[in-house]
């Protein structure tokens, strides 16, 4: 019975160590979280919920893409200022992410309303980017630390026409999201079990032969 247990530990340890190593390497989760939302009718603006930009990682890389002839605006501002700017503007709010790491998507909330005004005219923005057809902006998480009440991002065109159809965000995954949570425990447990099993097999083998 001891010999069976020793073999069990040996094989189980080997399996765990191999599985853990695979999870840390070829089966490791993606190192980036890329989430995109495309809508045919996003409203006048697409806006993130407070806290979404700081979802994970050191920064959030944003990209808004409209049609080739659209002047696209991307801005980051204090959440309360953007709420005041939006007023009753029609909009799509990106409230969170769902799905899994391989195929994530945004949770969205659509609010009907009217047009706004050209966002370029306002002075509420902490950072902005503009471009013909698309705009990109990287918001460092550290920049949000000093802004009381949190910040949000807003994508729009001229404030009266439809917002860019596609808004994407990319975060570099860190901590528990950056690696499979079972990988390191599996390797550690596997190594321990492997050693115990090997010792057991050796000891039970000597006794049997003597």
């Amino acid at each position: 019975m001891k010999r069976v247990l020793a073999w069990f530990l040996l094989l189980a340890g080997l399996g765990c160590a191999v599985a853990g190593t695979l999870l840390l390497t070829v089966l490791a989760p993606p190192d980036r979280l890329v989430v995109s939302e495309t809508s045919r009718d996003p409203g006048t603006a697409v806006v993130t919920a407070p806290g979404l930009l700081e979802l994970t990682g050191p920064d959030a890389a944003l990209r808004a893409t409209g049609s080739a002839d659209q002047d696209v605006f991307l801005g980051v501002a204090r959440a309360s200022d953007v709420a005041a700017w939006l007023g009753d503007t029609s909009r799509t709010e990106l409230t969170g992410v769902r799905g899994d790491l391989d195929a994530p998507s945004f949770r969205t909330r659509r609010t009907e309303g009217g047009p706004a005004a050209d966002p370029r005219a306002a002075d509420i923005w902490l950072a902005t980017a503009t471009g013909r057809g698309s705009a990109t902006l990287t918001w460092p998480r550290s920049s949000a630390a000093d802004v009381e009440g949190g910040v949000v991002a807003l994508a729009a065109t001229d404030g009266t026409a439809a917002a860019p159809a596609t808004v994407a965000a990319t975060w570099v995954l860190q901590g528990d999201e950056a690696e499979h949570p079972a990988a390191v425990p599996l390797v550690a447990a596997g190594v321990v079990a492997l050693l115990l099993g090997a010792v057991g097999v050796l000891l039970t083998g000597r006794r049997t032969s003597s």
Partner: protein
């Protein structure tokens, strides 16, 4: 039923596989969740310090463009209130070939420091002290935004009076508290009352009942000297001069200073009417006034000037109110 010798190994293999599968399935990496930021403990500042610098730079650039072109249609983009009126009048004077007195402020506003109020909602304002302008004095630039969708526009650029020092306020990042126009907590007088009383002092001079509440200042001296000279000239020829200074409603802005007092900014309207002797010949108007009046000679002329003034209002029992900065200029002239 007999078991084969390999049964223990098979069982061990199955057990190991089951353990690994369980670990894999139980530990699938999950998506991070959104954490809603905590509500601010205090009312936030209207703009962050770096944001204020960008806004001042943008306003300065717009002002420079408008001044270079001398085009009043470019002014509304980044100016409003007294500053827009004063600049538009200066452009008109310049277009007529006269030399405007100028606002005394710099077109290129190099910010030295800012006072950023902690304020919810709109309209909002903040103050910036800038490098010396054409008059070689630093300016106290007042920027206002009427709504979240509108930019900050330069509302006034009064120049600091010689020898004055601004009362200490908290650092830009810390923000300053806003004092309501009618709030007199720990102040010798509410901001609106201070502005109204100073207007009375400018109108009546030393005869004003409020004169002792204000320290002497260079601007008040200039206004009194100008009025005295005009009165003397007109009286000698049989004419008259009447003038009033009055607070422009809704223009009082104030922030709390570190000593418990307040820094107050307000706009005044200075209206003066000069009338020549009855039946006398028309007099020649000053070129600046003539440019705004659209005529060179007149028997009566009503000149409207706008003034932007800034005060240091001390806490209760802290002494007289001090005028810190002032600007003024004619914005319209009606002559006949």
């Amino acid at each position: 039923m007999t078991r084969s010798p390999s049964a223990p190994r098979t069982t061990a293999l199955r057990g190991a596989a089951a353990l690994a599968a369980t670990a894999l399935l139980a530990g699938c990496a999950s998506l991070p969740a959104v954490t809603t930021p905590a509500a601010p403990r205090r009312t936030p500042v209207v703009v962050e310090p770096a944001q204020a610098e960008r806004i001042v730079a943008a306003a300065s650039q717009s002002l420079l463009t408008a001044d270079t072109a001398g085009d009043p249609s470019l002014l509304p983009a980044r100016t409003q209130g007294p500053e827009r009126d004063l600049r538009a009048a200066a452009f008109a004077v310049r277009a007529a070939g006269a030399q405007p007195a100028g606002t005394g402020a710099a077109d290129e506003l190099g910010p030295l420091t800012s006072m950023l109020p902690r304020q919810e909602g709109w309209p909002r304002f903040f103050l910036t002290v800038t490098d010396p302008g054409a008059d070689e004095k630093p300016s106290l630039v007042v920027l206002r935004s009427e709504s979240a969708r509108e930019p900050y526009r330069i509302w006034g650029t009064p120049s600091l009076l010689p020898g004055v020092s601004l009362p200490a306020t908290d650092a830009p990042a810390a923000g300053v508290d806003v004092v309501a126009a009618d709030e007199d907590t720990n102040l010798v007088a509410a901001p609106q009352a201070v502005a109204e009383r100073y207007a009375d002092v400018l109108t009546k001079g030393g005869a004003s009942a409020f004169a002792p509440q204000f320290a002497d200042d260079a601007y008040r001296g200039e206004v009194a000297a100008s009025a005295a000279a005009q009165t003397a000239a007109l009286t000698a020829s049989g004419g008259t001069l009447t003038q009033t200074h009055a607070l422009e409603p809704g223009t009082v802005l104030a922030v709390r200073t570190r000593d418990g007092g307040a820094l107050v900014v307000a706009a005044l309207r200075w209206e003066s009417t000069s009338t020549g002797p009855a039946g006398g010949r028309p007099g020649t108007l000053d070129p600046v006034l003539a440019a705004l009046a659209g005529r060179a000679q007149a028997t009566t002329a009503t000149v409207v000037r706008e003034e932007v003034v800034a005060f240091a209002v001390p806490p209760t029992d802290g002494g007289p109110v001090r005028l810190l900065a002032a600007e003024s200029g004619p914005v319209s002239v009606t002559a006949a």
